[in-house]
């Protein structure tokens, strides 16, 4: 069993690497122009081949206005929570998004779920911009993109039984399961996430944190979605339980052919589960690539600083390692630095960094090489620095 899992994982990695290697990173968006709602829904429910881009995020922006005045509200600025982010999610892969608190990770999750309306930019799901959909087409999107929440203690309604919580998706989308079938489906889901199907009539407060998170995952799975957005799904759990939940999620990914966007701040967990990783800093993507590219060959100074803080379980290796300690605090997203957002804390910063915004692209010095450092990095002075093994 363990061996097959390993094999699967290996296949996944090569697949993702190939996909990323061909048109490295940002792919062409083939938009679908659906004339009628029926066509739109049909296109949204269509199958996508493994390794094809399923979700394409382009220049996504979310600014929260800052207002002043009681009666006549005047906008005095904006918190630039997400400021122009582009990435692709390929079918069947796990894209990890890491970054420190307040960098906009959770806002990205809410935007992808259309729980917040984007200020600008597009999110193409199977070629249709979901930020502009409404009515039945939006319902189809909701069926196909689901979410697992961070805190298993607040994400389940304390007044509903587990059966009602997991069965609610079927009540909202009655077309997903005939009425007589629902109870059996809910029990199957409980079984799939490793809970006793007899727990149907229990209330959330009778479960532990890990069990509650499994209930949350079962709810996310109920509508047979293609994408699950996990917003720090294990950060509220004990370390021992984290592993159980992560392994469950990997198993479900294989079983149901899911694509994950996995948002977290724990770099080790992200490495464990992700095929590709994006590093966010202050509303921008700093670096994105496969997990080997990011973890073993980081080229952006922020990624290098992050990785140098990862604990190394080997005292001797730890001795020789250079620890990059960043000074200062994260600047306010309401008033971010000009040019490169990281320049105020970067040891490489020069005048150019204040004037020019570095683009998220493969650095020139690595372009065309076979090196794993040839992945997108938003830095004018991108270079390799082995921070993990040194």
């Amino acid at each position: 069993m363990a061996e097959t899992e390993k094999d699967d994982k290996a296949v996944d990695v090569t697949k993702a690497t190939e996909a990323a290697a061909a048109p490295h990173g940002i792919t062409e968006v083939t938009t679908v122009d659906a004339a009628t709602e029926d066509e739109a829904v049909a296109a949204l429910d269509a199958e996508v081949g493994s390794g094809e881009p399923i979700l394409q995020v382009r220049n996504l922006v979310k600014h929260f206005p800052l207002t002043q005045g009681i009666l006549f509200k005047k906008q005095v600025g904006a918190v630039k929570a997400v400021d122009g982010i582009s990435f692709d999610l390929y079918q069947g892969e796990t894209l990890g998004i890491v970054g420190e608190s307040g960098c906009g990770k959770s806002t990205v999750a809410k935007l992808l779920m259309t729980l917040e309306s984007a200020t600008a930019g597009e999110v193409f799901y199977k070629g249709q911009d979901i930020t502009k959909l409404s009515g039945r087409a939006l319902r189809a999107v909701r069926r196909n993109i689901q979410m697992v929440f961070q805190d298993p203690y607040t994400s389940l309604n304390p007044r509903m039984t587990v059966g009602d919580i997991i069965g609610e998706p079927y009540e909202i989308h009655p077309e997903a399961a005939p009425k007589g079938d629902r109870r059996r489906k809910v029990q199957e889901l409980l079984d799939v996430v490793g809970l006793n199907p007899e727990y149907l009539n229990r209330y959330p407060h009778q479960f532990s944190g890990g069990q509650r998170q499994r209930i949350g995952i079962a709810r996310g799975l109920a509508l047979n979605p293609e994408i699950i957005i996990c917003d720090e799904p294990v950060s509220a759990l004990d370390v021992s339980v984290q592993a159980q939940v992560i392994n469950l999620m990997e198993k479900l990914q294989d079983e149901f052919n899911l694509s994950y966007i996995f948002i977290a701040h724990d770099l080790s967990i992200v490495r464990h589960i992700s095929d590709r990783v994006g590093v966010m800093y202050l509303g921008k993507m700093a670096e994105i690539g496969t997990d080997a590219e990011i973890y073993d060959h980081p080229t952006h100074p922020y990624t290098q600083a992050l990785l140098s803080a990862v604990p190394v379980p080997d005292p001797e290796a730890r001795e020789g390692r250079e620890r990059i300690i960043l000074t200062g605090d994260v600047p306010s997203p309401a008033n971010p630095p000009s040019g490169c957002r990281f320049r105020t804390r970067c040891w490489k910063a020069e005048d150019k960094c204040a004037k020019e915004v570095p683009l998220l692209a493969i650095p020139e010095r690595f372009a065309g090489t076979d090196s794993l450092a040839a992945h997108e990095s938003a830095c004018h002075f991108a270079e390799e620095k082995d921070v993990v093994h040194a």
């Binding site: 939006l138 909701r142 007044r159 039984t161 209330y203 709810r219």
Partner: protein, 314 residues
């Protein structure tokens, strides 16, 4: 979603990764918050005292003939004030003596419970509905609607319940129980609206509401299935405590002569008895004690229910 051929027991993870829940024998037994609260209440003596008193008052209101066979309106002037209470004559017409008309104070007190209890319950029901709906809309939709409704609440808060009730009741020449209910409900809904608004604002930010929205749930479902059940506990508590207040306000209005007319009621009796307080204090004290006990038991019940529903106090 699931492969239909996959039988439940075929799930490879199944219970292997699963630590057994405590009390595995009662697997299907559910324990809701309400049931937890009930377990808590059962061991609270204050709850039992107030509950027994309330059941007694409710019985008096529903079937007064259980307690006395005397007609509360029957007047025998031979007993005019001279009929002092015979404290040993339990459940007899002269148990609590006679009033100025020679009517049995005991019978009048028993029959007087009905008006107080009906008014207390109906006003509470009315203010919970009106205040609850206003608070829920203000809290959930926010923005301009919230501003308008909250200011409306503030304006009504500026009018004292008693004064407002008096002014409104003056407009009616014929006053029944229902006009009193209307008057008290009109000026008594604000605390409920505020509590509801606060509770809704807290709950609407909860992750499970976001989860329901992410599933595509509509406003009605979110309000009724997710927000309302989680706001009921504080609302029930405030309503229970307010109920006692409404009963005493009704008595005050009747005492002032602008409440009930030609109805047997504690307030009316207290009002009639004030002139003879020194000669025959029992005519005033008996209905007044019953009134105090009713209000007290509602407030105690409200306290006990709040403690039971608040997990932080356990």
């Amino acid at each position: 979603m699931l492969n239909p051929t996959q039988a439940p027991e075929a799930g490879p993870v199944s219970a292997a990764a699963e630590a057994p829940l405590p009390g595995g024998s009662e697997i299907t037994k559910a324990r809701s918050l309400g049931q937890d609260a009930w377990r808590e209440l059962r061991s609270n003596p204050i709850f039992w005292v107030s509950a027994v008193l309330l059941v007694l008052f409710l019985l008096m209101a529903a079937v007064p003939s259980l307690f006395t066979s005397t007609d509360p309106g029957h007047a025998d002037l031979r007993n005019h004030y001279l009929g002092k209470p015979e404290w040993g004559h339990f459940f007899q017409p002269d148990w609590f003596g006679y009033n100025g008309q020679g009517q049995s104070v005991y019978a009048r007190t028993i029959y007087g419970a009905r008006a107080s209890v009906i008014i207390g319950f109906c006003v509470t029901l009315g203010v919970t509905l009106v205040g609850g709906v206003i608070g829920m809309f203000a809290g959930y939709f926010g923005g301009l609607l919230d501003t308008l409704l909250s200011r409306l609440t503030d304006i009504f808060f500026g009018i004292p319940l008693l004064l407002g009730g008096m002014v409104l009741l003056q407009a009616f020449t014929h006053r029944t129980i229902w006009t009193v209910v209307l008057a008290l409900a009109t000026f008594g809904w604000m605390p409920l609206a505020r509590v509801m608004r606060g509770a809704v604002i807290t709950q609407k930010q909860a992750d499970f509401v976001t989860a329901a929205r992410a599933l595509g749930a509509g406003t009605t479902r979110i309000l009724l299935r997710h927000i309302l059940p989680n706001t009921l506990a504080p609302v029930i508590v405030v309503a229970t405590i307010a109920l006692g207040g409404f009963v005493s306000t009704e008595a005050t209005l009747s005492y002032l002569g602008i409440g009930l007319q030609s109805t047997v009621s504690w307030g009316v009796d207290i009002s009639d008895a004030q002139n003879v307080l020194r000669d025959a204090p029992h005519v005033l004290l008996v209905p007044a004690s019953f009134l105090s006990l009713t209000v007290l038991s509602f407030i105690l019940l409200g306290d006990a229910v709040r403690d039971a529903f608040d997990p932080k106090l356990r």
